[in-house]
């Protein structure tokens, strides 16, 4: 089945074509603007979804080497996300489906993120634990089947990626903060400064990164540049605190569920210290890191998941609505 996927839940406008669970094309607005404007990415400019949608969908169809009339179904993100941008994508997609007289399905953005892991590794088997760590999410999911998800834990305040971004700002580094902190950490002593690791001894699986950020702020207030501790030491210590929190909660999740496979998805998964700690901590586990392009917001995951549902005969009525607060479980 050939499915058009549309994603406009936040910053990105994206469209993709899938066919029999293979992605034929995947277009994301930030990349498009990047190439069209000679490398300058106007941050958040991509949210002018309405203006971009038509051309991005055209590009996706063209790149897939199909024609519009080959499309057999449409999948579009209906939440969670920003009301205004979701509406742009859903209205566009409904018009498209109506014009082609094809079925449409509204997709949960988080569920699509979880299923992006199958695009990265088609041999992935249920059940698995998915640690979703990005600028917007810090969530641990137990995934047992299509439609079978249990939220094992989430952050009560800042996301892990946000802790990197804001920590980088406090340290006077650039954006995005993850790679900047990682770079500065090289050669630094991760034990030089002790930063708090919230809930690390707690039995509940819950994350908190807000206190860590505040601890860094106060540490920098009294930081002596001419002392023994370098900025590399501070960055390394801060990074290690985030890594320790993530690894310890993942350990708890694995112990609690008894699964043998875990997937670490999202921008923070690219962090080398995290990967090293994971490798050392989970020696008898299968740990997967899907490609970053599949972890950031994209429409390939929406098309892929939509095709799974449409193949089962599941679709949405034409009057379905967006839901900015859509929950998964």
């Amino acid at each position: 089945m050939i499915v058009l996927g549309v994603e406009t839940s936040c910053d990105e406008t994206a469209a993709a074509i899938s066919s029999d669970s293979k992605i034929l094309s995947s277009i994301v607005s930030s990349q498009l603007i990047h190439s069209d404007f000679g490398g300058v990415v106007p941050e958040l400019a991509s949210r002018e979804h309405e203006l971009l949608l038509n051309s991005i969908v055209e590009k996706a169809i063209q790149k897939a080497g199909i024609s519009k009339t080959d499309i057999e179904g449409i999948a579009v993100t209906r939440g969670p996300g920003l009301a205004g941008t979701l509406l742009a994508g859903v209205c566009f997609s409904k018009g498209f489906a109506h014009g082609l007289k094809k079925p449409i399905i509204g997709i949960n953005h988080l569920e699509a993120h979880i299923f992006a892991n199958f695009l990265a590794d088609p041999n992935l088997q249920f059940p698995f634990v998915c640690l979703l760590v990005s600028g917007g999410h810090t969530q641990l999911w137990l995934v047992e089947a299509l439609g079978g998800y249990t939220l094992l834990g989430t952050s009560r305040d800042d996301a892990a990626g946000e802790a990197f971004d804001k920590g980088a700002r406090i340290l006077g580094l650039g954006y995005p903060g993850g790679p900047e902190i990682e770079e500065l950490s090289r050669g630094g002593n991760q034990k030089a400064v002790h930063f708090p690791r919230a809930f690390i001894k707690d039995k509940n699986i819950e994350f908190s990164f807000s206190g860590l950020k505040t601890a860094l702020l106060y540490y920098m207030d009294s930081y002596d540049k001419n002392g023994n501790i370098t900025k590399a030491d501070i960055a390394a210590s801060y990074q290690q605190a985030i890594v320790d929190i993530l690894v310890s909660k993942l350990k708890q999740a694995i112990k609690q569920t008894g699964v043998k496979t875990c997937v670490v998805a999202g921008g923070v998964a690219a962090n080398k210290s995290l990967r090293k700690a994971m490798k050392n901590s989970f020696t008898d586990m299968r740990v997967l890191y899907p490609d970053l392009a599949l972890c950031t917001d994209n429409a390939a995951m929406v098309a892929y998941l939509g095709e799974l549902y449409l193949n089962k005969g599941v679709s949405s009525a034409m009057d379905f609505d967006i839901d900015p607060n859509l929950k998964l479980a």
């Binding site: 941050e43 989430t154 505040t214």
Partner: protein, 146 residues
């Protein structure tokens, strides 16, 4: 224009103050917060949400930009302009809908980034850290007609 200064001595006092304030406000109120990283804006909003009877977790909306919560009687619109460069970016994501919240209260972090579109009658909260104390914060409240 009235200005009130409040000393908040801990996370708990920030949250209980916010909780009390929430119970005094009515639909249509816009609260514009300013203050640097780690001064307690999200912490304040968590207490505020509790005061409105929001169930469940209120996290940082830095990435999501806008989070909507259902309170007992009112909606809570929690907005974060940290990633926004200017007012037009805010308007591009449908921001104007949240500046006159008929069915609830809008609370905006990093409101300095959209200063030119804030309603005249909004309540301004400015947060400052107190040196050498990780928990203490100074809050300045500014607004018309209270």
């Amino acid at each position: 224009m009235s200005i009130i200064n409040v000393n908040l001595n801990s996370v708990n006092s920030t949250q209980s103050f916010a909780q009390k304030l929430a119970s005094l406000l009515s639909a249509g109120t816009v609260i514009a917060m300013t203050g640097d990283l780690g001064t307690g804006k999200t912490t304040f909003t968590q207490g505020f949400a509790k005061g409105l009877g929001v169930q469940g977790n209120v996290g940082s909306p830095t990435f999501k930009l806008i989070s909507e919560y259902e309170g007992a009687d009112l909606m809570l619109y929690h907005i974060d302009c940290y990633r926004l460069k200017n007012e037009s970016e805010f308007m591009n994501i449908g921001g104007e809908n949240y500046l006159d919240p008929v069915d609830g209260i809008t609370i905006i972090e990093w409101s300095e980034n959209i200063a030119n579109v804030l309603p005249d009658n909004c309540i301004k909260l400015h947060f400052e850290r107190v040196k050498d104390s990780e928990d203490k914060r100074e809050l300045t409240i500014e607004g018309l007609g209270f």
